[in-house]
Each structure stands twice: as C-alpha cells, then as structure tokens.
C-alpha cells in the first residue's frame, strides 16, 4: 500500500529480479542449445499472470477463490474453439466466423472471462471465508463438467490445435521466443495495471472492505460493486492467461479447468507472499521450477513436492517476497 516506504534497491530485487530472470532465462537456454526449455519459462510467465490476478483479489480484497481454474479454461477454450472453426471454416457459436489471431482471441478471452466472473463473483460474495472458497470451487466444477460435455469440441479429450497456434496481427508465432516475449509483455502490462489499481481509490476501497466492511458502510461505501468489479477483472486476466496457455501447448482440454489448477494458483500466491504483486512471479518461478527439477529425478515427485512446499511456507513466512523483505530489513542501515 505504501511503495514509497520501500527503498529503490529493495524494490529492484523483489520486483525486478524475477522479471529479469523470466526475460533472460529463455535466451540463455537458446544459447546453450537447450531450446526445449523455453516453453518451461513461458509456462512460468503464464502461471505468474494468472496467479497475479488471483493475488490482486486475495491480498487486497480478501477473496480466496478456489475456482480460478474455470477462467483459465474459459480463456483456453476461447482460443481452441475459435481456432478449430477458423481451420474448419465452419461457423463458430453465435454464427461468428472462426478467429485465429491473438488481437481477437486475447481480448475476447478477457471479455468472456470477465463476463462470466460477474455472476460468479456476485454469488460467491454473498458469503465469506470458508463458504466463499467452497462456492468458487463449486462454480468452477460446474464449468469443468460443462467443458467435458462439449462433444463438438472433443469432450474430455479437448481440442488439439495440430494446425498451429494463433497468429499475432497476422504474423506467424511458431517461434518459441516470440511467444515467450508476448507472454512476458502481457505479464508486465497486467502488473502495471493491477498495481495502479491497488494504489488508486478503487484498491483502497477493496482494502478497507477486507479489513472492516461494517466501517466502510458507515463511511458511505457500498463495497460489493467494487468487489464484483475486482473479481471480474481478475477473472478476465486469468482467462487471458488461459488463452496464452492454449497457444503455448497448442492444445486445450477440460484439464485446464481442473480444481487442482485452482489449487496450484493459490499455492503460487501463498508461496510468493502476499506483500507485493511480484510475489506471484516469484511463486510461479519457484513452484514450476521445483516441479520441473523434481520430475527429472523421480516420477514420485509429488511426494517430495508436498512436504517441501510446507517447509518453504513455514520457513519463509510471508512467502518468497516476505523472505526477501526480511533479508533486506537486516541490511537497512547500509541503505541509509
């Protein structure tokens, strides 16, 4: 809430470093002939984007959604469905022609995600705490089974985009680095927008409602509209992440909307720490990085991963961000 209280160096390390890592790592991978690693980093950027959108409503708004995978899947299907119809040259839903360009599919994913998030947010926000978590989960499960039942789009198997990913303003995006750059730019853009909104009156109202809703009403605020708005913005951004994921994998399936994906996003947010939005980027780097490394060593990686996460969260209270902040706190005298 008070970025001015942080020294520049602290912000550079906490906020700049993970972005720099995401920008440089794929280039380094290419340099050592390990180009197959690039999508691993792109995945991190995409999950960071989705987790950041969740971070926004969770840390400021206090909304713990265990249903954000639904928006991830919705965004993915906006790409998959449009792409299939564009290839088949058959009309898409609502009689629209198929679409296969990111200039259409990404804004469309945002719009559809945000639109569906409005009633979801409205319903979920009638409760708080554990009930809020359960309702978001239930609504997301509804979307999951809806996608499974979509026979025209592969049902459980989803849509394999073997004809290739979306173009960007007509340009082919077959180059992995180009796609990575697109994801990174969108991540940076989302970060900029979300941090401005956090500092703006809009963010203050959300923050105030999380801390004391009764007082907000007594002051003359009606927080519900703000909360639904934030939930919709968050859902829209997660859908954009899902749309990017579809392009990375060239494949969409109901699995994008599985509840474990919602759980993964929550783990990323908590792992990265609630102190600043950059926690989402740290969390994605650490979680997806660990997954990748452990998978190299053993197929039972999940057995190691679980306890490891618990240790990290316990050891680094406030997540990676909080850990970095404390490291820097110790050195504060030499900043002065």
């Amino acid at each position: 809430m008070r970025p001015d209280a942080l020294t520049l160096r602290r912000r550079l390390i906490r906020d700049g470093l993970p972005m720099l890592l995401l920008a440089v790592a794929p280039l380094a991978a290419m340099a050592v002939d390990a180009g197959w690693l690039v999508p691993v980093f792109t995945r991190m950027a995409v999950f960071a984007l989705a987790a950041m959108a969740l971070h926004f409503i969770l840390s400021i708004g206090g909304m713990v959604s265990l249903g954000h995978a639904a928006f991830f899947a919705i965004g993915g299907y906006v790409v998959g469905i449009g792409s299939q119809h564009a290839y088949d040259e058959t009309p898409a839903p609502l009689g629209l022609p198929g679409w296969n360009d990111m200039l259409i599919s990404l804004p469309a994913a945002f719009a559809v995600g945000a639109l569906i998030a409005v009633p979801f947010g409205w319903l979920s926000l009638r409760t708080r705490g554990a009930y809020f978590i359960m309702i978001t989960l239930a609504l997301a499960q509804m979307i999951f089974y809806l996608l499974v039942s979509l026979r025209a789009y592969g049902g459980e198997d989803g849509i394999s985009m073997w004809w290739g990913r979306n173009t960007l303003a007509g340009l082919e995006m077959s180059d992995r680095l180009a796609l990575h750059a697109v994801c990174l730019v969108i991540l940076a853009l989302a970060w900029w927008v979300l941090s401005r909104m956090t500092a703006a009156p809009f963010g203050w109202v959300l923050d105030g409602a999380r801390q004391n809703e009764a007082r907000m009403r007594a002051l003359g605020y009606r927080p519900l509209a703000y909360q639904i708005g934030a939930f919709a913005l968050s859902g829209g951004i997660v859908a954009v992440a899902g749309a990017l994921m579809a392009n990375v994998d060239e494949f969409v399936s109901p699995g994008l909307g599985h509840w474990t994906v919602s759980g993964e996003l929550l783990v990323i947010v908590i792992l990265g720490g609630l102190g600043s939005l950059s926690g989402a980027v740290w969390g994605a780097l650490v979680l997806l990085g660990l997954e990748e490394v452990l998978m190299e060593f053993t197929q039972h990686w999940a057995v190691i991963m679980g306890p490891l996460l618990v240790v990290i969260v316990l050891f680094a209270r406030g997540g990676v961000g909080g850990f970095l902040d404390r490291l820097n706190m110790g050195k504060r005298h030499d900043d002065a």
Binding site: M197, G208, R215, R217, L219, G220
Partner: protein
C-alpha cells in the same frame, strides 16, 4: 442548512425486538443542529441498538427515521452516510493495517464524487490529505498520522474512531460512548472537541460518564428497557424522580 435548532435527525416510534427481547420500545427523539442530545440509560437499555437503527445498519420492526424531514427508513447505511450522517462505534471499528492518516483519508474520500477512482494513486491526493490531517490534529493525534491503527493505544484508537467520523464534515454525528476507556485528560480534550463541533451539526451522544453528559448536553433522553422514561434539559432530568429511581440511583451507589 445549518439553521440552529432545525431538526436534522428524528426517530419516530421505533420498535425493535430480538426474539422475545424488546430492545427498542416506541423510541422517539429529535436531534437538532447546534445541539448535543445525550442518550443515557443502564447497560442493555438499548442505546446502541437505537444508534444502529438511526445509522441504518439495523432495520427497525416499526417506526420511521427522518433526516432533514425526509424519511430515510428504507435507505441503507451507506446512503444515509452520504446524506451526512456519521457514527462512531462503541467498540472501535478501525482498519487495522492502515495508518491513522490513510484511515481518515479513506473516510474523506467516501464523500467525494469526482475523482479518478481507478487510476490516480489515492495517497498522493492532496484534496484527501489535507482534510485528513486536519481531522487528526483536531483530535490531538496529528503526530500519529503514520502509525498503523493496530499499533495505537486504546485511547488513541477511540480518537481515531472520532476523527474518521468527523472528517467528512457530517450534519449529524452519532457517538456511542466515545469516552469509554479514555483517561482524564483525554476525556476533557474530547469533551472540548465535541462541544466545538456542535455549532455546525447535530450530535447524539451515548455516554455513561454523567459528569460529561450533564456538562455537554443540551437535551437528555433517558432510556430504560428500550423505552424513553424521560426527556428534557439536563437540569430537569437530574431532578426527575423516575430517572433517579431507575437509573441515577444506581450510579450514585457506585
């Protein structure tokens, strides 16, 4: 707007029950601009319940609430706040993670219509900053502007509670035991602040400290078991036999 003695907030025959318990039983009272109207009564008399119904956080079973002569019975709490009604809570209701200054800025902002809601950083908005600082200084906690609410001492929290209520320059102020837990000096200072405020607004003051009540109040209403047993100027109330029996006697006994 600030005509002295104009009724600004009125309760007409309010009734409220919680199950079998009658918490408000035919309450009528009038708060006038330029007056401090004290609402007193023993514990559980229904004072806080009355404030909640006036503020709009609790819906009466029957009766009317009027603001400047217009019914606001169906208006929610936020709507009444926007008309110019402010309250302080008996138990401090603060934003624990915000500084004192940020809390009051949020209060000031609630009254604003035209500002960049989504984009401009609120912390840099001088039109919020200045009135917020002013409110903190008025209550003598200007030096605590940068302290988080959760780090404030009890008395300071009470004062921040007040600062948030008066920052919007309300037309009616509902104060639920603002002095509770304050020390002697703080009580005296806050009394002076409340006394100075009444020139521009109507004040409903719930207070247990009888010295404060009889020093500040222009009108005193005595509530017992949700019903008004007496209402009038302090000098009359002090000598009212019913009041002495029902209420003040127990106070004397302490």
């Amino acid at each position: 707007m600030t005509t002295p003695d104009a009724p600004v907030l009125e309760a007409r025959d309010l009734h409220k029950s919680f199950g079998a318990l009658v918490a408000t039983n035919g309450l009528s009272l009038t708060v006038r601009t330029g007056q401090i109207h004290a609402l007193i009564g023993p514990n559980g008399a229904g004072k806080s319940t009355a404030i909640a119904q006036l503020a709009g956080s609790l819906r009466p079973d029957a009766g009317e609430v009027l603001f400047s002569g217009h019914s606001v019975t169906r208006l929610d709490e936020a709507g009444r706040a926007r008309l110019g009604l402010a309250r302080s809570f008996q138990i401090s209701a603060l934003f624990p993670e915000m500084t004192a200054l940020e809390s009051v800025m949020l209060a000031v902002q609630a009254g604003r219509r035209h500002h960049a809601r989504f984009w401009k950083p609120a912390s840099a908005d001088d039109s919020l900053l200045e009135p917020a600082r002013q409110a903190l200084y008025t209550l003598g906690i200007g030096h605590l502007a940068r302290t988080r609410a959760s780090d404030l001492a009890h008395g300071q929290r009470r004062l921040l509670e007040m600062a948030m209520a008066l920052a919007r320059e309300p037309r009616v102020l509902l104060l639920d035991e603002p002095m509770a837990g304050l020390g002697f000096v703080e009580t005296r200072n806050l009394s002076a602040v409340i006394h100075a405020l009444k020139a521009d607004m109507g004040i409903l003051l719930v207070e247990h400290d009888m010295d404060v009540v009889f020093r500040l109040a222009d009108v005193v209403t005595v509530l017992v078991d949700g019903a008004v047993i007496a209402s009038g100027p302090p000098s009359v109330i002090r000598d009212d036999p019913d009041v002495r029996r029902a209420y003040l006697s127990e106070d004397d006994a302490c």
